[in-house]
């Protein structure tokens, strides 16, 4: 079982990830000029912006519902990986972009930490016994 201490760590990273992702949603959904500018550079304006925003909203919600945390973390890390790819290939890291890029990396690390802590809850991994075999001592009388 996942130890209670690790679970607390996981809740911190979940909430941090959801909070950082969540506060950008407002700019995306309201078509803030900066956000529109970003997505125009990526060639995804306006549909891509709305799709990404909707997926981020879903990830935030999943991250906060106990039975779906790992799915939220999975979705969140995919989105952030995409964001980082965007920074590498199109957006660059100058000026305010640096801050955005670093936030994406922070959210990605939060999501991955959550996944590592809760790897036993992942649906496919569940089929596999992930614990290392422990040693059984000789008979004691």
């Amino acid at each position: 079982m996942t130890s209670p201490k690790l679970k607390i760590v996981s809740w911190f990273t979940q909430i941090a990830a959801a909070a950082i992702m969540g506060q950008t949603l407002y700019f995306k959904f309201t078509a803030h000029p900066d956000s529109v500018q970003l997505f125009t550079e990526l060639g995804m304006e306006p549909h891509g912006r709305l799709i990404i925003a909707a997926l981020e909203l879903i990830a935030c919600i999943l991250l906060l519902i106990p039975s779906s945390i790992v799915y939220g973390a999975l979705l969140g890390s995919c989105l952030m990986a995409g964001a980082i790819i965007g920074h590498i290939t199109e957006l660059g890291w100058e000026g305010p972009r640096l801050e955005l890029g670093i936030l994406a990396i922070v959210v990605l690390s939060c999501c991955i930490t959550t996944l590592l802590v809760r790897h036993r809850e992942l649906p496919l991994l569940k089929a596999i016994q992930t614990d290392k075999p422990t040693q059984r001592g000789p008979r004691n009388h």
Partner: protein, 508 residues
């Protein structure tokens, strides 16, 4: 002849392992040069690549994943789905163990009070091993049947005898093995029929007592509820329990069919704070009862211990055992005769008996099956001339009238079943009794699972099940032309060649 599959899985796996990173790269380039939307595929592929690398190079637990990577995962997924797929889709109606779908369905129908008539013929294998009841050419009508009555303790002439009027006893299931909702459902249901319920070795039977039903208090080898620190009997606590209005009988468990020669087990997953208090055991550790009672070292001490419990409790006292060697059983009976001291009943538990937890070797390989063991016990008691000194109770997979009537023919005075009653309150044979994850909440202490059980509804099913069993028993008795179960005998059975009972057909 080649035994290779048409698809070479090893080659396919090598192809997959090479293709995943290449495709990831291709999609990355497409996302970069053509449209950013391609990264919707790049990112999951990237994840897949990482997981595959972990399987192939980092983890060391699973050879299959080290050799085949992500494709090897398919085996684990399919294997984990196997039990459900087999149960739902592929197993025949008479294939599953311990109870096949027809047997379970019969209990469900009885519990729901639905007519259990079936059409077009039996699904059983007719010629080989099925024991049949020999009906009479002249069946009798129901009015001629005698009411069922079995008085425990009458042989000893004690004051507090107990008369059983329902021949079907709920066999020993403790609070601990079952959750509180299930215990209360069973207790309320049996109370509605006036029957008897065994508490199992779970210490003070707090929840069994709540519904005002007649109880047999079971003393297991750990003596939960009536023990001193050193594991010996605490007479004062036993006397206090026996003085309770609802506790009519005491059953001393010497061994249990599912794990004869081994004490009861309660896995740590199922030990809540309340259970640890009721039993006086620590939490976070499996509780394994001792293999035997310290008071029962040999035949004389065992018989003396039974007598001691009888004297302390002042109510009928029986023993429960699974027969291993019939000669030992005969010797035990001989010792009872020598000391002129008998238990008020003996429950013969067949090796097919169920349990919440036992090592697989014990479940599968230890102890005699019920029917031959019961027949041997009956023969030993008769030939020792002491059959009238005690009652015989049979238990072990006796969930349907067809198997119950056989046990009656073999000498049983009453039937005890645990799993039959579990099925009646909705058990779906998920076989997770030891892990606290019972999907219908019967053997779980998880409140989220237990909430599935509505006590009033389930109690009704227990009562229905008993009334249906009584109804079927009456009809079978009429067909056999006897007025009560005591008139049944081995002669009423047709035993085919391959049955375990066949050797007994030539004894007389």
């Amino acid at each position: 002849m080649s035994t290779k599959l048409a698809i070479n899985l090893h080659k396919l796996a090598r192809f997959t392992n090479t293709a995943i990173p290449i495709f990831t790269l291709l999609f990355f380039i497409a996302g970069w040069q053509i449209s950013f939307y391609f990264h919707f595929i790049t990112v999951p592929m990237l994840g897949l690549t990482l997981v595959n690398c972990y399987y192939l190079f980092a983890q060391r637990n699973h050879s299959l994943l080290r050799n085949f990577g992500i494709l090897g995962q398919g085996r684990y997924i399919l294997e984990s789905l196997g039990p459900e797929l087999r149960q739902y889709l592929y197993s025949g109606d008479t294939e599953e163990r311990p109870f096949n779908r027809t047997e379970r369905a019969e209990v469900y129908r009885k519990a729901n009070n639905i007519d259990s008539a079936s059409s077009f013929g039996s699904q059983n294998d007719f010629d080989a091993t099925e024991i049949k009841l020999r009906h009479s050419l002249f069946p009798i009508s129901k009015e001629r049947l005698l009411p069922y009555q079995l008085t425990f303790g009458e042989e000893r002439g004690i004051q507090n005898t107990y008369t059983l009027t329902v021949p079907f006893i709920i066999s020993g299931m403790s609070y601990g093995a079952l959750g509180k909702q299930a215990v209360r459902s069973l207790a309320r249901g049996i109370a509605q029929t006036g029957g008897l319920m065994n508490t199992g070795e779970g210490g003070y039977p707090k929840y069994h007592l709540m519904e005002n039903c007649d109880l047999a208090f079971q003393i297991g080898t750990a003596k939960f509820g009536v023990r001193h620190e050193d594991g010996t009997l605490d007479e004062q606590r036993l006397a206090a329990l026996a003085a309770k209005e609802q506790i009519k009988l005491i059953e001393l468990k010497l061994s249990q069919g599912a794990k004869p020669g081994k004490g009861g087990m309660l896995p740590k997953e199922k030990i809540t704070a309340e259970i640890s208090e009721l039993r006086g055991v620590p939490m976070g550790r499996d509780v394994v009862s001792p293999t035997h009672h310290p008071e029962c070292e040999d035949y004389p001490s065992a018989v003396a211990f039974i007598r001691r419990i009888q004297e302390v409790s002042q109510i009928p006292v029986g023993i429960k055992l699974c027969v291993g060697d019939p000669r030992q059983f005969a010797e035990l009976i001989a010792e009872m005769k020598r000391q002129d001291s008998f238990p008020d009943w003996i429950t013969i538990d067949g090796a097919e008996g169920g349990t919440g937890a036992a090592p697989k070797a014990f479940i599968d390989r230890v102890g005699m099956p019920l029917f031959p063991a019961l027949k041997l016990a009956q023969d030993i008691l008769v030939s020792a001339g002491v059959r009238q000194r005690l009652k015989l109770v049979a238990s072990g997979k006796l969930i349907n009238p067809g198997s119950q009537i056989i046990a009656f023919c073999l000498g049983a005075d009453a039937i005890a079943t645990a799993r039959g009653f579990m099925l009646s309150i909705g058990c779906i044979q998920a076989m997770q009794c030891g892990s606290n994850t019972c999907p219908v909440g019967i053997t779980s202490h998880n409140p989220r699972l237990e909430r599935g059980i509505d006590i009033a509804d389930k109690a009704l099913r227990v009562a229905n099940y008993i009334h249906s069993l009584e109804h079927d028993l009456d009809e079978l008795l009429c067909a056999t032309g006897v007025r009560c179960v005591r008139e049944l005998s081995f002669e009423h059975l047709y035993v085919p060649l391959e049955s375990a009972l066949y050797p007994f057909t030539h004894r007389n």
